[in-house]
């Protein structure tokens, strides 16, 4: 496929891509998009999407399903659908096909009293399913204990177009919606999500019930459901803070939002600052009415963790009085305002607030909400004039623009940072100094909120953002309150969708709750270990070995994913990897039971003990993956699906800048990193000339990015571009999905702060919005009037550099035949 685009004029390739999507990709995705758009009440959103589609800035990417179509068994044909059970940590898309091991007919889970536990299954309809209902009976034990059906929340997973990169959307499972009856078209795989809330006083034991699936004209299908309730309650670590950065609220819905957060294990939010006014003598008076409201709301919701506020509003209030920020006269008023804060907090000792000094300190490219290291330290000094005021900073990493941020650790009460290698020193120092460590923005994985928090020694995890403003158009795929970053999605970001009349959780919000529960299981075990009597040495030893095994499996940083060795990760099978969570959770539960038995003077191995009563259940088993199945799910090579590309023919009079036929071209490349010694360092920028997928001659350049940001820099080429109309370059996207591209051009007049820079943002040409489909794609840049964003026209006799990257420098690509041509 060869698609080209011009920077001016209609992007015809977009039409081709859309036609391709319509003709080759599954219609269910388009149907689901239409259903999503039909929920919207604001016609302006539809109009905008229509225009964005027209200009190629709203592209629907199909979900690629690896498994072959499932063959229905006789019982499936009678039922009218194939039912299958997949680990809820793995998403079920509209075209997902069940794996053989997933075609089971039972649901099973374990939980503790007052715990929420998800159980899911999915249907592949063999025809249209009309008036589909899914209900659950009461769950009962042989001894007569019961969990009422009302304690089982039954929802279906609505699939919505959500962001898959700038200007790209994919239909994906997003919203857990309640329903009475559904109409499901044939072949639209749909997941159903049951959440059991075990009553706080739920008796331990083995509960059974039935999930009934009924559709008009079809027999009722029954799925047996087994729930084992364990004989202990999970303990909550009082030092642990789980918090949301709140983005917008609606007073009417806020109580429900907070209650929902609490039910998901959260105990803290960000709250705005009180407004402060100053008298002529410098006396500060705070209007704490907003905090009074927060105090009551959060207390009512049981959100009793440490909330985050800031000092930026106070700083602005002082500046409005006349002093420059941190200048003469600023300190007195600022500290007076802080004292007002502290006085109010002293009067509310059960309301815990830490003040974060602005946001994410940095040394360059500061937003209005950022401050540099020196200013942040100045603010800390001022805060320290108010004893007892708890303060925090949240540097993104150990350094910012080469500035060492580790001194922050010694200056604050709580250090908040990303859980990644870039914060290695901050994390280590904070633990070393015995200060509370918080982490933030580590994503929605179960790992990040649970086992990883324990491994890090963190006492808090925060996530941007909970969008709590009630919105009837919450399912809009595009932002509707401003577009902070062009091409970004409205869907797929937050934990819920807040409508005026309901809060719709996402699967990832449920994953987060399970992560928090993982932590509570661990905490409960650790407390049991502390209480364990001396005679429990063997059980203690077993528990410690289990913790060590878990520690080995949990990575230093959550983004890495579990380290489970060849038994899971090596097989490439996500089902086995996901099963690891409950595998460890079940073993932790059994270890707790064993210690409970010992604490109560029972022999865990003896009949009647808790351990022996519950250890017979086969929870936590890892699925067996056959070699054949594993092979089909092995990680794809970069060139999967792209075997050959059409050759390019140069137009008469073309000037070839690069053909990549020899390694000499590597001297015309540049590593995008300040401080690198060699202009081209293959370790930092792994590009090499390869024989694969060449569009001109025999070789192309293959680029496999390693670092976020930056990209491939072309230098030392013939910079005299006069007399040509267009720059063309052949790209081959070897992946199976479209990706967003970025191109930058500078001339020799652009000042460079360091040799490998591309120059100031305003003073260069940037093309930030082109989509590279899978396969070959020829990028075109019109040269007429080529210039910088600030309007400066380039010196076309001295073009100096070209930078190129795909998908934020995360996606590999081939590039070949970079040339200047005249339009025919």
């Amino acid at each position: 496929m060869s698609l080209t685009t011009a920077l001016r004029g209609t992007p015809h390739w977009v039409c081709a891509l859309l036609v391709l999507a319509t003709s080759c990709w599954a219609d269910p995705a388009q149907d689901l998009l239409h259903e999503q758009l039909a929920t919207l009440t604001n016609s302006d959103i539809l109009s905008t999407i229509k225009v964005l589609q027209r200009v190629g800035k709203f592209v629907l990417v199909p979900h690629k399903e690896d498994s072959p179509p499932a063959v229905p068994a006789e019982m499936d044909r009678r039922a009218g659908f194939i039912v299958f059970v997949r680990n809820y940590l793995e998403e079920v898309y509209y075209n997902t096909q069940p794996r053989p091991s997933e075609r089971v007919q039972t649901l099973a889970a374990f939980a503790t009293p007052d715990e929420y536990e998800p159980l899911t299954f999915a249907l592949c309809p063999l025809g249209v399913l009309n008036d589909l209902t899914v209900t659950c009976t009461d769950l009962t034990t042989a001894t007569g204990a019961a969990i009422p059906a009302a304690a089982v929340d039954v929802r279906f997973v609505r699939q919505l177009a959500r962001g898959a990169g700038r200007f790209l959307w994919t239909i994906a499972p997003e919203a857990l919606e309640t329903f009475d009856r559904l109409q499901l078209p044939a072949d639209r795989t749909t997941q159903f999500w049951l959440t059991v809330h075990v009553p706080p006083d739920g008796a331990p034991g083995e509960y059974h019930g039935v999930v009934r699936i009924s559709a008009r004209g079809l027999p009722v299908t029954e799925l047996p459901l087994q729930l084992v309730v364990l004989p202990f309650r999970l303990q909550t670590d009082p030092a642990m803070t789980y918090g949301w950065y709140l983005a917008g609220t609606t007073p009417q819905t806020l109580p429900a939002v907070l209650a929902d957060m609490r039910a998901h294990g959260f105990n803290a939010v960000t709250i705005g600052e009180p407004s402060v006014t100053f008298a002529a003598d410098g006396t500060a008076t705070g209007d704490f009415s907003s905090w009074e409201r927060w105090y009551k709301l959060l207390k009512d919701a049981g959100m009793t963790g440490i909330h985050q506020s800031g000092v930026s509003s106070l700083s602005a209030a002082v500046v409005r009085q006349g002093p420059r920020e941190l200048g003469p006269g600023f300190d007195t008023l600022f500290v007076a305002g802080l004292r007002a804060y502290k006085s109010w907090l002293d009067a509310h000792p059960d309301f815990h607030v830490v003040f974060t000094i602005f946001d994410e300190p940095r040394e360059t490219l500061l937003n209005s909400w950022n401050r540099n290291f020196d200013d942040t330290v100045d603010y800390i000094s001022l805060c320290r004039q108010v004893p007892g005021l708890r303060i925090s900073v949240n540097p993104m990493g150990d350094t910012g623009d080469r500035k060492d941020y580790t001194p922050f650790v010694g200056l604050v009460d709580v250090l908040n940072t990303h859980a990644w290698k870039g914060s290695e020193k901050l994390i280590a120092l904070t633990r070393q100094q015995g200060k509370p460590l918080w982490t933030y923005n580590n994503g929605y994985s179960r790992l990040a909120w649970g086992f990883s928090q324990w491994k890090l020694g963190s006492q808090g995890n925060w996530q941007w953002a909970y969008f709590a403003a009630a919105n009837p158009n919450a399912y809009s795929p595009i932002p509707i309150g401003g577009f902070e970053n062009e091409g970004e999605s409205n869907t797929g970001r937050g934990p819920t969708y807040c409508f005026p009349d309901r809060i719709v959780p996402t699967p990832r919000y449920e994953w987060v709750r399970e992560g928090i529960d993982d932590y509570r299981y661990l905490y409960t075990l650790l407390q049991a270990l502390k209480r364990a009597p001396a005679g429990a040495a063997a059980a203690i030893d077993r528990a410690r070995k289990l913790l060590q095994e878990l520690s080995d499996a949990v990575p230093e940083y959550p983004a890495i994913g579990l380290q489970t060795g060849t038994e899971a990760g090596g097989s490439g099978d996500p089902a086995r990897l996901m099963a690891m969570f409950d595998h460890f959770r079940w073993r932790i539960a059994l270890a707790i039971l064993e210690l409970q038995d010992i604490e109560a003077g029972r022999d865990p191995q003896a009949a009647g003990s808790l351990w022996s009563q519950f250890s017979r259940y086969p929870f936590g088993q890892l699925p067996n993956i056959s070699a054949e199945a594993a092979a089909t799910r092995a990680p794809k090579t970069p060139t999967a699906g792209v075997l050959a590309v059409e050759k390019t023919v140069l137009s008469p009079g073309a000037k070839l800048l690069y053909d990549f036929e020899t390694d000499d071209c590597l001297r015309q490349l540049e590593t995008d990193r300040a401080g690198a010694e060699d202009p081209f360092d293959p370790d930092l920028m792994p590009a090499r000339c390869v024989a694969d997928l060449s569009t001109y001659g025999k070789r192309a350049l293959f680029y496999q990015p390693q670092d976020k940001a930056g990209g491939l820099h072309f230098i030392n080429f013939d910079g005299d571009w006069r007399g040509f109309d267009v720059l063309r370059m052949d790209l081959v996207n070897p992946t199976d999905r479209p990706v967003n591209g970025y191109l930058c051009i500078t001339d020799a007049n652009v000042p460079l702060p360091y040799p490998r820079a591309m120059g100031a943002y305003d003073d260069r040409f940037d093309l930030e919005a082109f989509i590279v489909p899978p396969g070959k794609y020829t990028l075109e840049v019109d040269l007429g009037g080529l210039g910088a964003k600030n309007g400066r026209l380039f010196d076309m006799s001295r073009i100096a550099k070209i930078a190129l990257s795909l998908d934020g420098n995360r996606s590999p690509f081939y590039v070949d035949c970079i040339r200047l041509e005249k339009r025919q």
Partner: protein, 383 residues
Amino acid sequence: MTALATWLLLPVLAFGQKAYLLNVQKGELPNDASAQVALTTDNPEQPDGITLKVTYGKGAFGQYNPRLKDWSSFQTMRFYVFNPAQQPVSLYLALRDKDTVDYNTRSDIPFTVQPGRNNISLPIRGAVRINGAAFDLSSIRQWFISRSAEGPDQDLYFGDIVLEGAPTTAPGPAAPSALPAPAPPSAPAAHGTIVLEGRVRIEIDTVTLQNLVAAAQAGAPSAPQPTPAPRAYVLNLAAGQLPSDNSPDVTVALSDQHAAELGGKTLRVQWARKETSFGMGAWGAGAVPFNWTGFDVLRFEAFNPSDRVLGCYMAVRDRKTGYENRADMPFRLSPGLNKIELPIGVIATNAGGTIDKANITQWYICCDQPAEVYFSSLRLENE
């Protein structure tokens, strides 16, 4: 009109620099919008084109942290806007630089969108803060376009928003640029004032000029006259105008009470607190002349139904005066009917300077105590 029509046929001056702030044609949306914004192809004036539909109720649209922050080499902001309604709409462009911390430290450029097609060209060079201090165009942190006064929802359709540099000396086709010229040509606006040579010589400020152009293009029956009329209204109650720049504790309403004494519709003003005010800004709802030159007295009647004497003053500001060095013109309202004449031949500021009558940005009337007063229309007249 003849001179104006002739002028409209002149070649468009060439511009040396041009940069897009918002490339609507390429599907770019503002990243900062509290007004409802949408891309649309439903603009009745450009049915096949892509425009940005902005529905003004409350709110504004613009860019926060714009990609292009250094505007110091540009002269004007230029864009097309279509107003499908029958009434003009008053808007303002607000600019915030790195030192802007509040309303007083930003820079506002008011303008009016006439019914139909408008080619707006706003002079950004020489922008000053509301408080009169210098503004730094090299460090733009935010810009937005807002409606001056709240009102019923109003749709406006915007085209690409571009910055342009100084015009070259020779008229002719546009200089080569990386960016295509916006569809509708616009009136040039180099330094805030443009001199036209022809059968008549007129000097008008840029904002008024673009209104003249817009009115002519929209086929308006008449454009504002370049010479002052014998009477103009600061506040025209007969036309249903209300003051739009009022303190929170002040209530204003059109009334028929005391109509006989005050000559028609009256304005009932209730000051709930002392030292609060009602009035209008230069960004007000179209009733405030930008130019008070040619008038030497501001007249109105007021009926004070109480038995107390009220101490009042009218405050006036121009683009370069801040709160402290505004012009205060005191007057007293005795019980019953009062006829007020405020001399405005030269308006002295509190700091000893003079108000630039061609650029009045705000007036308001303040009372020294809680009170209720009925006002007539406020008129600009000559002795």
